[in-house]
Subunit: 236 residues, 2 copies
DNA sequence: TTTTCACATTGATCTAGATCAATGTGAATG
DNA sequence: CATTCACATTGATCTAGATCAATGTGAAAA
């Protein structure tokens, strides 16, 4: 089905915002809007890179796995984020929808060519990639060196920041209350912990009145300062 | 001191390879060749991003730290690699020379502007950033989910691949023998382990005749297949 | 050559977090 | 309403890897 960039909800935030109306019409011809059900994969680790896309609606996880099933979530994608591996022929990770989602898909060869012809678009893509690289490197410090309480606290703070755009009830650019877009197992896969450890840390934070948990998906930050302290306190 | 791109040893491998002779002269005017002693830092975590550079000679580590001194190495840089954070105003990590090194430095504002005016250069930079992002994500799986034996085996294999360019005595694109460019503590900081654990794993591999250790810096791979098996075997 | 000093190995013990095993919980279904 | 089923919590135990503590080792300096 043909897409319509003019009416696209992410046209001002996605990389397409680098394009003028004529160019939007041109890229429109290359794109296809696709719906993905929760749990369905869009891209598989190890496959050839044949498509790239913009997330329009929903959320995705980016994962890498070992043969015996151990899985690490290595990234999360939200509306306006870019997915896939341009200028390379192999996908190094799997992309799976966490909720019912919509993406705007391009064939990689079409996209690569279009990007090379539109430096402003390529610039946007570079900026996004640099931001993502910074984010991923921050996760490396977390996975390599942080304790379980530090990981959970950092995670809650990052989520409250990241979801701040979407909603209101904001204090200082972060949300005081928000709904996690995933369950405990996936939190564990993000943090490199087990589900039990994540659960125990959450309970602990609740007991200490640092957070409240109206239900399993919702988190309310009661004491942001303390949460920050826990997030990068030394061990002990 | 003025640089001379025509004679530069990395001109064919660094991002500068995207430029034609005229453009090389232009970027030459913006660059400054700087020597860095082993152990000296080029960029500090948290500082404003004021410079970017190409590595010409030597090696660097990219690190991020917690207040109490825990440190994670989040990247390594070799000749022709690009350093620094273009199009952003904050350095998220520290860059330190591992050996006496030389870099070709640009002021970030000069560089940003020059890149925007030269799409081919920006394209090279994007390609490098995408490759680095893939590499870093692979490390996330390692840090989050791999056991100590798996980490050490993966590390030795990656090093033998990465150093394959530099030397001869290559079998199937990888080196059978190579000198690690760093000591045990730094290996530990790369793998998110302690120095003792790294040491024990190396001893174990030696006992099982998977590798030989002529001395503390040199590694000889005796049984690459087994090393691969260990690198992503399930636990147990 | 001996001394030194930084680094690596080895051993003994401890512990954070994994694993194993019930037991809640609450939204969807009959 | 009871039943189910997926998910979350809680508890008991185990273990990989950290930590603490000597003991090697080998290259540079005296």
């Amino acid at each position: 089905m043909m897409n319509n960039c003019e009416q696209c909800v992410v046209k001002n935030k996605a990389i397409c915002s680098a394009l003028d109306p004529d160019e939007l019409i041109a890229i429109n011809r290359l794109s296809r809007k696709v719906s993905i059900k929760a749990g369905q994969a869009l891209i598989w680790e190890g496959d050839d890179s044949l498509i790239v896309a913009n997330v329009v609606e929903g959320a995705f996880k980016l994962t890498s796995s070992l043969e015996d099933g151990r899985e690490q979530i290595i990234g999360l994608l939200y509306p306006s984020d870019f997915v896939g591996r341009p200028f390379g022929d192999r996908n190094e990770y799997t992309v799976t929808a966490l909720a019912d989602s919509k993406v705007c898909v391009f064939s990689r060869s079409d996209f690569d060519q279009f990007v090379r012809e539109h430096p402003d678009l390529e610039h946007k893509l570079l900026q996004r990639t640099l931001v993502e690289l910074d984010r991923v490197r921050r996760s490396m410090l977390m996975l390599g060196r942080k304790t379980a309480p530090e990981r959970v606290a950092s995670f809650l703070l990052e989520m409250s920041d990241r979801l701040a755009d979407a909603s209101c009830s904001v204090v200082g650019g972060s949300l005081q209350q928000f709904a996690l877009p995933f369950g405990r197992q996936q939190v564990a896969d993000i943090l490199g912990l087990t589900i039990e450890t994540v659960s125990r840390q959450m309970t602990q934070l609740k007991k200490n009145e640092v957070i409240a948990l109206p239900d399993h998906r919702n988190v309310q930050i009661l004491d942001a300062n303390r949460l920050h302290d826990i997030a990068d306190a030394g061990p002990g």
